[in-house]
Amino acid sequence: MSLLEPVFDLQPITFDHPGDELQMEPFAMSVLQVWLKMMRKETFLSQEGYFVRRGRLASLSKEKSLAAELSSSKFLFTQGFFLLLLYNLLLRESCCNLNLLEALAGWICLNVSVENIFLGVKWASYLLVALKALINAELNFTSNMKLILIFSALFGASLCLETFVGYSCRFAELSPSFSTACSGCQQSSWARSFCHFVKALGWRGPPEVFSPPSCSEHGMELFPLVIIIYPYQEEFVIFLHQVLRIKTRNEEEVQKLQLLESLEHLELDFWINPSTPALPVDVRIPANSVQAVKAFLESHGIAYSILIEDLQVVLDKEKQDMAYSQQRDRSSNSFNYGTYHSLDSIYAELDHLASEYSNIVSKLQIGESYEKRPLYVLKFSTGGSNRPAIWIDAGIHSREWVTQASAIWIAKKIASDYGKDPSLTSLLNKMDVFLLTVSNPDGYVFTHTTNRMWRKTRSKNQGSRCVGVDPNRNWDAGFGGPGASNNPCSDSYRGPSANSEVEVKSVVNFIKNHGNIRAFLTLHSYSQLLMYPYGYKCTEPADYAELDALGRAAAGSIQSLYGTTFTVGSICTTIYQASGGSIDWSYDYGIKYSFAFELRDTGRYGFLLPASQIIPTAEETWLGLKKIMEHVRDNPY
């Protein structure tokens, strides 16, 4: 067999855990297989030799020669393997990239065993691995690796010393068999007791038939395994890529999970971070960390369950529904949710939704913009009178096009999912949803006709040539404070007074008149953030713990779809201090569940998000919104 040729027809090696399969390069696999076969054969033969030694001298010589052959060929083979391993290690480190210490170690080993070049090579490779692991600051051993290393180190040590002891004992006593070596060992009591210890391990002693075994043959036989596994430890692919839901019972368990979170080499992906024992912790574990994490949890008595099946069902259903509704879309009307639309086009679709789903959707006008464009809100309701309601708005900053686009998709989603999605159905059976898809229609039109980067309203400012007020600095929450400009030309101009902008005033009036709004959710872009109050001050709101936990849960739901990560925190700590913001007003007004979303992306395209990302953004945002809405439904106040 050519040493450099991969052998593809060998089965993967299975270890003790059924289901775990060791994935390795075919070459290393084949080498390991042959080596193991030889080991097994040799052990068998050594036992044979031992028994044979008892009586039948006639066959001894035959066994001896055969075993000796096998032994020496195995020896040679092992040495050859280590040469290759060294070669492999060098190559892996982009050739010959040894630092001074390692080169020195190699040179020492070669000289130490000058009579046996293979041994020298082997020791060089051992030391190289050990040194590399030590010198490398990121000692990246998985817990499996650690166990194997410790175990083999101990076993090797014991065998090594045993051989040494036995050998020296034998020499001293000239006793042929190991069974008497211990008692006959006059050298020291520690040698004797060690001898007994090793015997207790089950080691039958070195066969007399071969040349006295060296440490490297028997004592260190497990080290090759270690050396083989080390470069490949990342490739211990266990195909179960799992998501676990961990239920913590107390602070101590939360802290243990936070410790787990900090172990970066595990590459854990916490959808819900461990923060309080009240909320479960959802974590996605890459395939090769699953065993380690589960072992950690079990050893600390932390209960967990596997979540992935649930998620898979959800994802499949979502995809199914999307395909179904898209199909229906194509047949019934031509509104393409995957592109950006003009204001007129969006308004036409609002009418279409209200008529197609007239049993639950109705369109209300809550006011007019500065330039007299209607402000339309979709009401999703299954009846009742003045039920507790959830408010969602989008597009308050006109250049954030993905928000208006997502809002209209979400409108469609809510309308079409009623009666199909049990969670949404139960929600709408208890509560209403109000959705303002375009909060700033004047600005939106301006971004289409004149300036794509326009943010504010289009109201004229007295005494200034500059137009417009930042509608999200105009609310009555810390108005006039830091984080908003008093310069009309600024993009964060707060306006002459709170609620001076008719777009803002209309929403305030609506909410006050309704009187039963339970959640206020607003969509912005970009930055991928999920924020709760406050923005006008950097102190925590009274409901900080609950809002933070809920925010993290929602961010986890968002991430579950496409892996998009949202940072969760208060406005002030996460983005900047900003006074006069909408969710600060709604929170201080008494609407506890006030959240602001900043949707995709994180700055590459920014406001100019490609249309191809509209539907994925809307889909994931919807999951986050739904999470919050479900919580609102289940926690009336």
């Binding site: 130490v112 180190a153 090797g156 090594c160 040494f164 964060s492 100019l608």
Partner: protein, 273 residues
């Protein structure tokens, strides 16, 4: 004899390995204040470090964006400023796949000078491949018969014409210089759009572009228009000259690698958009 000669190295190795495993990680105490990785200060500092890196790398194929911040600490250095120590992952600017992690320090000086950045990153992409990509881009641009011109990249709908993508990438690299210079502890930037680009054909090997880029400034939310002259040769540092005019406040003299030209002042008024 073999046993005796090999026992010492074996014991040595065992000691080495066991001690390595049993050695606890030493926690280094310091006078630093740990920041929440999701805080805006940490994110801002990481972005500044990446602006600096993207400019220094001068390779449109190797642009990086911020992934996740793993660790952030800040230290107040008297007479100097605030120094941030960051550990974060990065993603490829275009494909969003993870391309490695970085360790960076960012010192925001008390004086009006650009932040001092020290950054070291791992890179999982193949360097040779990136170089080849850059060379390919360079050759294609060099062999243009007519100078490249373009407007609104990406357009209002987020589209970038495939042929103009490298031009956009170069703009990102060049703007990174501007954004790095202008960043402070409380002001951060993103490149929002290339408003216009025009190629200047040169007689030597360098490629030269004249850009008007829009920068999005946070937290003020302003859109800053900057005029940028960029020269590039693969493997060489980028040369950037610029000056920026704020859309709402008239001309604001920004410093560049060389001072802004005295001949003619570009004045884009907000109303003209």
């Amino acid at each position: 004899m073999q046993a005796l000669s090999t026992a010492p190295p074996a014991a040595f190795l065992l000691v080495l390995l066991l001690s390595a495993l049993l050695m606890p990680a030493a926690a280094a105490p310091g006078a630093k204040r740990e920041l929440n990785p999701s805080s805006r200060l940490a994110a801002g500092a990481a972005r500044v470090a990446l602006h600096y890196l993207n400019f220094q790398t001068a390779s449109p194929g190797a642009l990086r964006a911020l992934g996740q911040i793993r660790k952030a600490t800040v230290k107040s250095i008297p007479e100097s400023g605030h120094k941030y120590y960051l550990q974060f992952t990065t993603e490829d600017y275009k494909s969003r796949e993870n391309v490695g992690s970085c360790l960076a320090t960012v010192l925001y000086p008390k004086t009006k000078s650009p932040p001092a950045v020290n950054i070291k990153c791992t890179y999982t992409k193949d360097q040779k491949q990136i170089q080849e990509e850059d060379n390919g881009v360079y050759q294609k641009i060099r062999h243009q018969t007519k100078p490249i011109i373009g407007n609104n990249i990406p357009d209002s709908y987020g589209n970038i014409e495939p042929a103009l993508e490298p031009v956009w990438a170069l703009a990102v690299a060049g703007s990174s210089y501007i954004m790095w210079e202008k960043s402070t502890e409380n002001l951060g930037y993103f490149m929002a759009q290339v408003k216009s680009v025009k190629q200047w054909i040169r007689k030597d090997d360098f490629i030269e572009f004249d850009y008007t880029v829009l920068l999005h400034e946070i937290p003020t939310q302003e859109i800053i228009s900057c005029h940028m002259r960029l020269t590039w040769l693969p493997g060489r540092p980028l040369k950037v000259k610029y000056f920026c005019a704020s859309e709402n406040q008239g001309l604001e003299y920004g410093s560049g690698m060389e001072s802004g030209s005295a001949a003619g002042i570009l004045h884009e008024r907000g109303a003209n958009f």
